[in-house]
Amino acid sequence: MAPATSAQRRRRRVAALLAPGTTWITLTYVVPGALIVVYSLLTPKLGGGVIWELTGDAWAEIVSKGRRSDAGWATLGSAAIRAVAAAALATLPLAAAARYLRRSVRGALVVAAAVGVLAGVNHLAGAYNNYTAVFARSVVWSVWATVLCIGLALPLAVFISSRRSRITKNALLVAVMIPFWTSMLVRTFAIRFVLSNTGPLNNAIESLGLERQVFLNTRFAVLLGLVYTALPFMVLPLYAAIERSDRVQMEAARDLGARPPQVFVDVFVPLIRPGLTVGSVMVFVLSVSQYLVPTLLGGGKTNMIANLLDLQFGEAFNWPLGAALATLFSLVTILSLYFVVGRRDGADLL
């Protein structure tokens, strides 16, 4: 046998370097993932666990069961109405913005149509049955959390990035990170206390002579918690992207007569798009799988997917149904990320 060529040696080295990571991912992700799919096809056992008898009951339950499965043509009709209404509502501002930015109005119409379709699909999912309703709710809330995080994080990131002194920048970044030094559980309990009926927020409201309000265990509290938890995951990538962006290009655009909103949309946003993508994916994924926030701030009344999974694997003793929901959940997340960011910006994630 001739000695290994340098190409072969390199391949072996690469294999040796990849082996630990590959093994780790196989053991912690691929195997449990496959097991979840298998469990979704087995029979539930009272007390938890599964009986090794194949059945499609869990999947049939997701497809067929649910109180709202009486939804028929009327639901389809109202979904269509909602889709059209949402598209119509979105058209005007989008078209106006497109005109203002001297972009093609057709693009705006396509986006408006997409908004309409999503609104329709969301309504159908919400009306079809309980499981799809929880899925739709989790996805919609996570999208809102992402949008709110972008709205809050972008000015903050620009502000931090525009500081002259390195020390100020670092100090501000550390301030963003500080909440992560305490357990998320403790922080969520703190929010719970602030929002509670007898908490500081309500005391302040009362001292102003106003009526006490119920903040805790509402959708508002859940959304607040989602945004609070995920915000740093938006600030940091945005900050990194802004730091890297080439400011000269924005100045050039101004000099060439672009209006500030145009500079923002046509120059700034494309420059920081990698940061936006990374931040959005992180916030979305983090939010859509939240368990603690809906439990502690939603009072068990406003639940997300993870709460449904917890019920099936815990009290309900229905592991196969939980496994089927988990499989579906992974599919929904992976597919939505693929369609929204994967095809175009997938590389940015790496």
């Binding site: 309703a133 559980l185 119920v214 265990n217 990194a240 449904l308 019920l311 815990g314 309900a316």
Partner: protein, 403 residues
């Protein structure tokens, strides 16, 4: 342009890794502390038995003198050095473990669970290392059916003779083949007297015109919540008829808007602080809330409530069943039983215990309305759970899924 992309990709990777590391650290913390949300009642519970504690050593000291060591410690030649004990969180005065070690030389490692499902899963996984486990009635039935439990040898537990016949031979373990009762209590309705002109007597305070909209909570428990709705509608707590569940679901979904939350973990503190003014509550929990807020009263509504009992069981694969039996017998000693009940503010199934309970315990029980009379007992139902009760999980899924 290409170079730019490359470099920024690397930077991005680093950023992702850095944030990922933080995320992972965050997750790790959450995992370790995943239990506390359900045990958040812990501080209150531990605060509760402050009074009985000083009395603890007194009944203990004369005991070894009166009785031979073997009376409380079994046969020393068969006794192990240590056992692992799985109990509900905050459900035993840990001084008892130290007393047992001092008296019998067995060190007991206490591990806690916050849900029967968790305890079943631990034992079901096999090789759990626990020699003694405490779980609730229906869980004992499930574990026994699945062959997870060892049959008890009652000849090693002479103190079983102390147990109240009313609490023996329960539906989940006929003949007490697998379990002996530890503590029992009820599920009912706790409220702050200052919030009501006339005290409520019915579940209508939740299911019809809740007078405390946004300030009353329900337990986070499928059987108890759905059961109470079924009972309010005139069905049995264990009803499995789909039409009855449909009606109960409608009722719960309507009541839901006025319920501040489904909460089994924090309501004791919430009742004590006035955060909620009424709650579906476990009996002992109302007693603990009463310690902080003497306006708390507990009732079993007219339509009924649940009686439940935690039992001591030995897993089929227990490493040291003999020592587990001895410790079980020790916990059934009158003085030890008194320490347990002073701590839990539950009801003791041990007939030798009540004379030893302190005035403090009776003040709480009488003051908060926890006295279990025969008239109240008639309104209590055991929660039965077998395959036919899967419909409760389905109904509960629908309660939790509703927006």
């Amino acid at each position: 342009m290409y170079m730019f992309t490359k470099r920024s990709a690397l930077l991005r990777l680093l950023a992702v890794l850095a944030v990922g590391a933080v995320l992972a650290a965050g997750c790790g913390e959450d995992d370790e502390e995943a239990a506390p949300p359900t045990t958040a009642a812990a501080p209150e519970v531990t605060a509760a038995p402050a009074e009985p504690e000083p009395e603890a050593p007194e009944p203990e000291q004369p005991a070894p003198a009166d009785e031979p060591a073997t009376g409380r410690c079994g046969d020393p030649s068969r006794l192990g050095d240590s056992i692992n004990f799985l109990n509900w969180a905050d459900y035993i005065d840990e001084a008892i473990l130290e007393m047992f070690e001092a008296e019998c030389g067995v060190s007991v490692t206490l591990d806690t669970h916050v849900a029967n499902e968790e305890a079943i899963a631990k034992v079901d996984a096999g090789n759990s290392g626990y020699s003694l486990v405490i779980v609730t009635d229906y869980a004992i039935g499930i574990m026994a059916d699945q062959g997870l439990l060892a049959e008890l040898d009652l000849s090693e537990v002479p103190n079983a003779a102390n147990l109240d016949p009313n609490q023996m031979d329960a539906y989940y373990d006929p003949g007490n083949v697998y379990s002996l009762p530890y503590q029992y209590s009820t599920t009912g309705y706790a409220f702050d007297t200052t919030a009501f002109d006339t005290p409520p007597t019915s579940w209508s305070a939740i299911y019809d015109q809740n007078p405390l909209c946004g300030q009353s909570s329900l337990l986070e428990d499928q059987r108890e919540v759905i059961g109470s709705a079924l009972a309010y509608l005139g069905y049995d707590w264990n009803e499995t008829d789909p039409a009855a569940h449909e009606a109960a679901l409608d009722l719960i979904l309507e009541a839901r808007d006025c319920v501040s939350g489904f909460d089994s973990a924090n309501y004791i503190g919430n009742l004590a602080s006035g955060e909620v003014l009424a709650a579906m509550s476990w009996g002992f929990a109302a007693g603990i809330a009463y310690l902080d807020n003497p306006n708390i009263r507990y009732i079993i509504p007219d339509e009924g409530g649940i009686i439940w009992q935690d039992g001591m069981v030995v897993p089929a694969d227990a490493p040291d069943p003999y020592t587990a039996h001895v410790f079980m017998n020790y916990m059934l000693e009158p003085d030890i039983g008194a320490l347990i009940t002073e701590f839990t503010i539950g009801y003791t199934p041990n007939l030798t215990v009540p004379p030893l309970l302190s005035d403090g315990y009776f003040d709480v029980v009488e003051g908060s309305g926890l006295v279990l009379t025969d008239e109240i007992r008639e309104r209590l139902t055991w929660q039965v759970r077998d395959e036919s009760h899967a419909i409760f999980a389905e109904t509960w899924s629908e309660v939790l899924s509703a927006g």
